[in-house]
């Protein structure tokens, strides 16, 4: 999967301001709504929260992957966000999260969404990459890490 086609400067954000899981998710959805065309914030939020209800998407090592499926989108939408202060995300390892990867995909097309998450999680599996992302000062820096980390 070519991350270059999916990730742009607009889909990466440093310095998220939310301090709760709900706030972080809403903040990320606002970015997707701003980047997309005619996307209903409520529908996206509902899709993501429904998935969170089944099982929290807080993974290990301060990474969370909130995602949802809804047919108001026709293709994959992603946003990557980093927060300066750790936020409790009900994670698997009980540690608070700082790196958030959100995807919204159509109900029938789970392939690209899983492929994207798999690609990203392969990068985030390296401590070195995580450290660099947390230290990054701008969206451009993070984008660079993801696009270069691939090679």
């Amino acid at each position: 999967m070519n991350l270059k086609k999916i990730l742009t400067l607009d889909s990466v954000k440093v310095g998220l301001t939310g301090s709760t899981k709900q706030e972080i998710i809403e903040e990320l959805i606002d970015i997707i709504v701003a980047n997309g065309r005619n996307l209903s914030r409520d529908v996206l939020l509902k899709a993501v929260m429904e998935r969170e209800k089944q099982m929290s998407t807080g993974m290990n090592n301060g990474i969370a992957i909130p995602h949802g499926k809804t047919d108001v989108v026709t293709d994959l939408h992603v946003v990557i966000g980093v927060s300066q202060k750790p936020v409790d995300f009900a994670s698997l390892d009980k540690k608070p999260a700082r790196i958030f990867i959100m995807t919204i995909s159509p109900k029938s097309q789970t392939g690209p969404h899983l492929q994207f998450l798999a690609e990203v999680s392969r990068l985030l599996g390296k401590d070195e990459v995580c450290r660099k992302i947390l230290e990054a000062k701008s969206s451009g820096d993070i984008l660079k890490i993801f696009l270069e980390g691939r090679a």
Partner: protein
């Protein structure tokens, strides 16, 4: 009226024969797979031998006016009634249609390099060993272009990797360099075997005898390859459009049956074109193999397969004449040994040129050993066309038995120890597979979850393909990525290359979560009894008011 009477008599007999065949085949198949841990096919063949016209089936019975159940028709090449032979013929078409349908053309093309080398090596060496043994040991055969020698040659080439695929998936070696090579080599092996058969049948029908007329051989070969290639290419181009139209029926059962109908049609045409029927059936399967409904067609033909294929193997067993078999036992054992040697030396040996070391070569050779239905179909074709006598048919049966018995233990032992590949396999072929497994509370639930997982992988653009008719073993394929998924009791196991591990873990998690959602809704039905109350409610209701 007399004709009607004799027809009824004949049909009654056919019904009795089928009944005995089906019951015996299923019983012996079950016993052999349950207690001897061998393929049930062997049991079905043995059942045929026991109930057939050369054993129990020859006992005169009063109910048939002193005739035996299985009489040998006068002057026929095959010792069974033509009516029964009809069933076996349809079965061979079903078998080859499914065999074509299960062909993995994409994998084959992806690993065509080494796979082609190995498949070709196995075919060439086996063919010449088989044909050579005919020249040396069959009286009256002096040249390898004679029909008998040709038939013994092509019978030696057939490989059936069903058994190998099952063992390799159990050993988690299916995606190893050796495993992938065996699977793609087997595709080529089938294709070359079928083309060779087409040529040989063509030659036999024109009555070539000894003297080699190369122009005749050339023209027949050209026609055979032309028919095969032409119909395959046309089929592959037309199949997706055809299935797209047929999908509009919104009835996958109808689609599966129409596909089978087309397989029979092409089988008939290929016979008319001077080739064998099974070639057309195989080509039709091959054409449909790359369409997205291939697995659905296969699944829907399973019932037919379970009915007719044991009949086929049982009838094959019935054709074994013990009196003649005793005379050819020596040659049969030699032929079987040459068959093993041909695959080890040919397939294994040629893999040495493809980057494998001796250990890898041995594994690949061992993986190509098992023989199955194609061997028997080829042999019965030889018998029915009068090229082979019942002795040589017996030889083919011996070879099939021995290879099927020898292959599993040899294969298991071969895959112990270190790597058999010299270099690093390209991406997607890592031999270090990650295994992800989980257990369900019951086998029934595990089966249900498995079908859901297959559907989820399909949605993620993977092509699931069932490898074994008897066991739920699947490969899921997307470009060069191979994942195996199989069910063992209530356990679901997924073997993935490391690069795909996180993808598969995510997919499995999401699917389990959505299943849980489904189960919760089932729970709602389970908690309240309103549904069954509504259904059963009025059972003992007084109906006096209604009167």
């Amino acid at each position: 009226m007399e004709h009607g009477d004799s027809l009824i008599h004949l049909m009654t007999k056919l019904v009795f024969q089928l009944s005995i065949i089906i019951i015996a085949a299923k019983l012996f198949g079950f016993l052999v797979s349950r207690y001897l841990k061998q393929s049930s096919v062997l049991g079905e063949i043995v059942a045929g031998m026991i109930i057939g016209p050369f054993a129990l089936g020859s006992i005169p019975l009063a109910m048939f006016g002193g005739e035996s159940l299985f009489i040998i028709p006068h002057g026929a090449a095959i010792p069974i009634m033509p009516e029964l032979e009809g069933f076996a013929t349809v079965a061979s078409i079903v078998l080859l249609f499914l065999s074509g349908l299960e062909t993995d053309l994409k994998t084959f093309l992806r690993f065509a390099g080494v796979g082609a080398l190995v498949g070709l090596g196995g075919v060439i060496v086996s063919f010449f060993l088989g044909a050579g043994s005919a020249i040396l040991f069959i009286p009256g055969v002096s040249h390898w272009m004679e029909p008998k020698a040709l038939f013994m040659g092509i019978i030696a080439t057939a490989t059936s990797v069903g058994i190998t695929a099952r063992i390799l998936s159990e050993q988690r070696e299916l995606s190893s360099p050796e495993g992938v090579t065996i699977l793609s080599a087997a595709v080529l092996d089938d294709v070359i075997g079928i083309i060779l058969l087409a040529i040989v049948v063509g030659l036999t029908k024109t009555g070539s005898s000894g003297g080699v007329e190369w122009s005749l051989v050339g023209s027949i070969a050209l026609k055979a390859v032309g028919f095969w290639l032409g119909s395959t290419v046309i089929g592959i181009v037309l199949a997706p459009r055809l299935t797209k139209r047929l999908k509009r029926l919104k009835d996958l059962d109808a689609l599966a049956m129409i596909s089978l109908g087309l397989a029979l049609l092409l089988a008939g045409f290929s016979e008319k074109a001077g080739l064998a029927m099974i070639i057309g059936a195989y080509v039709m399967g091959l054409a449909l193999s790359s369409t997205d409904v291939a697995e659905d067609i296969r699944h829907r033909l399973e019932g037919l397969y379970n009915f007719i294929v044991p009949i086929f193997f049982c009838v094959m067993g019935m054709m074994v004449d013990f009196a003649v078999m005793r005379k050819v036992l020596g040659y049969g054992l030699l032929y079987a040994a040459l068959g093993v040697a041909g695959k080890l030396v040919g397939a294994g040996g040629f893999s040495l040129f493809g980057g494998f070391n001796l250990r890898g070569a041995y594994r690949i050779g061992a993986g190509m050993l098992p023989r199955g239905e194609v061997t028997l179909i080829m042999a019965s074709l030889g018998l029915s066309t009068g090229v082979l006598d019942s002795g040589l048919f017996g030889v083919a049966v011996i070879a099939m038995f021995i290879s099927s018995l020898v292959a599993p233990p040899v294969l298991l032992r071969a895959f112990k120890g270190g790597s058999g590949y010299k270099g690093e396999m390209a991406e997607g072929g890592d031999s270090e597979l990650k295994s992800i497994g989980f257990e369900m509370p019951s086998e029934a639930l595990a089966g249900f979850v498995l079908t859901r997982l297959l559907e989820a992988f399909r949605e993620a653009d993977f092509f699931p393909r069932r490898l074994d008719h008897q066991n739920p073993v699947y490969t899921l394929q997307k470009d060069a990525v191979h994942i195996t998924l199989y069910l063992d009791g209530a356990n679901i196991t997924c073997n993935v290359p490391p690069a795909q591990e996180s993808f598969v873990r995510l997919l499995l998690t999401e699917e389990i979560l959505s299943l849980k959602e489904l189960f919760r809704s089932v729970e709602k039905v389970a908690e309240s009894d309103s549904v069954e109350r509504n259904i059963i409610g009025n059972l003992f209701e007084s109906n006096e008011q209604n009167d």
